[in-house]
Amino acid sequence: MQDQLASLQEEALAKVEEVSSLDELQQLNVTYLGRKGSLTSVLRGMGKLSPEERPVIGQLANKVRETITQAIEAKKATIEAELLEHQLAEETIDVTLPGRPVQVGGSHILTAVIEEIEDLFIGLGYEVREGPEVETDYYNFEALNLPKGHPARDMQDSFYLTNELLLRTHTSPVQARTMEELKGREPVRMICPGKVYRRDSDDATHSHQFTQIEGLYVDKNVRMSDLKGTLDQFAKKIFGEDREIRLRPSFFPFTEPSVEMDISCKVCSGKGCSVCKQTGWIEILGAGMVHPKVLEMAGYDSKVYSGFAFGMGPDRIAMLKYGIDDIRQFYLNDIRFLQQFHHA
């Protein structure tokens, strides 16, 4: 019987070695180890053995079962691995084919510029204010030290709706509105982005509608050097750390002293080129120390409080930053234009 078991094992292992499919392997499992299998039928002869032989043979039979089972399991793993390999080979795809496009939109470039500037000033402790686009003559002009008949009103030809109402020509009225709302309380730190309107014929450099961001800082002991430092931070953040700024005296009825801020030309690094009209500098914004009359009209004692204000044009900033040569592009909404700025 020992010989029978030994040859059974030998035969089974040889068969296992030969099979190539899981089905055949399963078949072998049944043939040798099943309830009606070869091993079982050999063991049926156990009854004829002596009590001394039985445990020896039993032990041997278990060992044979174990050996065959192991061989089958091992073969199974091999076949399964081969099958998987085959399947994976069959599932190979052309990874260079395009994926399903995901529709993603984006901000208008003016919004992107405005949001970048908002974020900068929020970091400096400012809040964002908004104001009406249809303004009263009082807030648009008079509260900003531009009484009726003032020659500087010529600087901004306006769309009047009635004698007293007009489309705001700048975001500066929000200065007056904010200070009036705070009624002499401190501090005032705000910026106001928004649409503004002027009677200009639309061409490459003029638009009857454009955007502005007004800024205002009022507190005790605010100095002109604070304005210079703030604008320097703005310029470096928006235009690059290597930009220099320069302030030039200018005139706005609502600030005194008044300044224009230039930044050094990026194209020529200040050497002079066609972009900066050979000056090395590009005009970016107007600013100044809040005029005492403006403070007083809004209820701030100009002997105690001082402040600075600035106004800039996101349209102009975007044009300079990205080399856009026609302001009308912002309002035509040509998809081929807008999409150019939909990148991080």
Binding site: V134, Y160, P257
Partner: protein
Amino acid sequence: MLVSLNWLKNYVDYGALTPEELGELITKSGIEVDGIHHVAAEKSEQVVVGYVQSCEPHPNADRLSLCQVDVGDEVLQIVCGAPNVQAGQKVAVAKPGAVLPGNFKIKKVKLRGVESNGMICSLAELGVDEAFIPADMAEGIYVFPEDVEVGESVEALLNLNDAILDFDLTPNRADCLSMLGVAYEVSAILDVPLNLPDVSVTTIDEKTSDYTTVAVEDPKLTPYYGAFIIKDVEIKPSPLWMRNYLMAAGIRPINNVVDITNYVLIEYGQPLHAFDYDRVGTKEILVRNAKENETIVTLDGQERTLKAEDLVITNGEEPIALAGVMGGANSEVTDETKTILLEAALFDPFTIRKTAQRLGLRSEASNRFEKGIDPSRVKEAGMRACQLLQKYANGKVLMDPAIVDHIDRQEKIVTMNTMAINNRLGTNISTDEIKDILRRLQFNFEVDQDDFSVSIPTRRGDITIFEDMVEEVARIYGYDNLPYTLPENASRPGGFTKEQSLKRAIKQYLQSVGLTEAITYSLTSEELVSKLISPDIQSEDVQPIALPMPMSEDHKFLRLSILPELLKTLAYNRARKETDIAYYELGSVFLSNETTLTKQPKENLRLAGALTGTWTEHKWRQEKVTVDFYIVKGIVEGLFQFLNLPVVFKQATINDLHPGRCATLHVHDQLVGFIGQLHPMVAKQMDLGDTFVFDLNMETILALHEDKLAYKQIPRYPSVVRDVAFVVDQDIQANDIKMSIETSDIPYVTEVDIFDVYTGEHLPENKKSLAYSIHFQDPEQTLTDEVVDDAFEKIVELISNTYNATIRS
């Protein structure tokens, strides 16, 4: 203001600075130099004055002349092609060896067989920028006045070496509307001395009062009026240098009298007017307000109808000039004029501004009156003109001009101290430095320790308060020298309001689901303003707001909806073969129910979207999705889900939208906007394809939004789903059944999803099948089949009864 540097040099020596360097210094100190023009871009050499001794036709060419030209040391034979060359003229001759701009070398040549030894030049050939060539000299060669010396170099004679600075003056710096004002400025910036012109005049022994008297009706409107009489004037061209300076200043030379008044206008900033004394007709000048509807024919030949607010100069009877604006034709100086009545006056800026504006007669003179002229220089300017008329028109100046003078000559005092200035600027300027700055500006002052009392000269009418002086000190000290600081006040976090953060979040959402932000114009056309107005606005009885004076018909009305202009951008893109567009815009519309506006309109923030064309396409798999109602609805539903607001869509009819594909949106029974397909007729009118739009009232939506996020326990027990299909009439709306189930009191229902809509085979006419998945859940325990069956039966019964539905098996 155009500033000729050759002219300026007469008053202030700016040393070896180039025009560019000087311009940069002036710009940095407060007056923007917008451009620098060189009269001749390049130098001409060996170009001299020549006298045309004879001028004969060229023997071999019709259009050429053969000239013998005396250039001082020799006589040159020159062939000239200019039609205006004549014997007896003095002309600019480029001799052989001369080099003209453009490296054009003049040589001896033969032209059509005749020797030509040089060239007679036009101003353009000498390099003069076209902008500086008067119209009457643009054609042909330039002809000098007779009194120039033959053989003299033309460079100085024609001011070819001049450079002109173009000042972009801010309205406050009217003082620099004069060469003298500019000279004061340059003298202060460079700290160099100033040479003012000598205005002494020799008068003859005749009294002005024998010729005229002067009276002023309202001294407030005419604080000063001076009349000077100059006899025996000879009208002729003015000297070449004066003509050159005027041309450089952008003024066309006319004759000596006109040129002298213009010269003094630019030099002093003081407008003058010369009347032909004999044509004035009386011995009286009266300045008064015009009578309503009085008329005057002005110098340009136009008859002007006046208003009582206009100021006129009269001869006691009728107007002879419109004060500060333009002279009258009836008293104009002509070639026959012998005696001049010269006016030097000061008029009220607002009056001049109004008149000039109303009549559209803005001029160099009215501009200066409007912006304010130096009251203490009015008489001096008159004297300067008399002096020049004496010298260049052989005039005889009468004694004691007739003058009415109500000028307040009191200089304004501004007080300041060193610390206050430094506190405002953030600087550390010493009292001595401030003293030096005031000296350079030529401001008189007294100083006690660090306290200044500054007398502001009348030429600087813009300086009235401390802050103005802060600017003066700062700009001479140099803005470049200000330190960079940040405010030292206690800092405080900045931030957005809830609405501002939400607006940004909403934009982010829309962009991430595929929409692109557009910004369109707020002003629209009459045709478009009435289109696509949301029902929530319609119900408020709004009136479109029109601009009384629009720039164009396209931008005449304030928008009542964002959509029409947004749709225009879709059409713009479509015309450029960009047919797949998904745009949104966040912006205000302007609402008022007044027919005549008396108060600000309500500005209503809205969110609009317009989508057309292909939504997504995966080409190589031939998968393509075109924008339809449900794509846009999904985006809008997603937005409300993002905002955690329950929204209900109700079938609606809205103008300009497809009547069967349009819904209004409601949150808590409040109408918040609409969605729909653009009516095919409207789409066709606007050159659009199938287009889908939405328009939401963001103001209402933002107000409805509540910040109420809170954690809810995640259910521990599984939910059970049962599917059912109801057969109902075609006009039953899917959502009604869903809502009936969800809002019934049948227990354990958590959600109802529609998953199939079917009409056609196996169903009767006018019937459809709506299939729903109904979700049941008990937060406390696992539901048993019996409980679910019971609830499901109740639902079937409810829907069958309510909608006359049957179960589709």
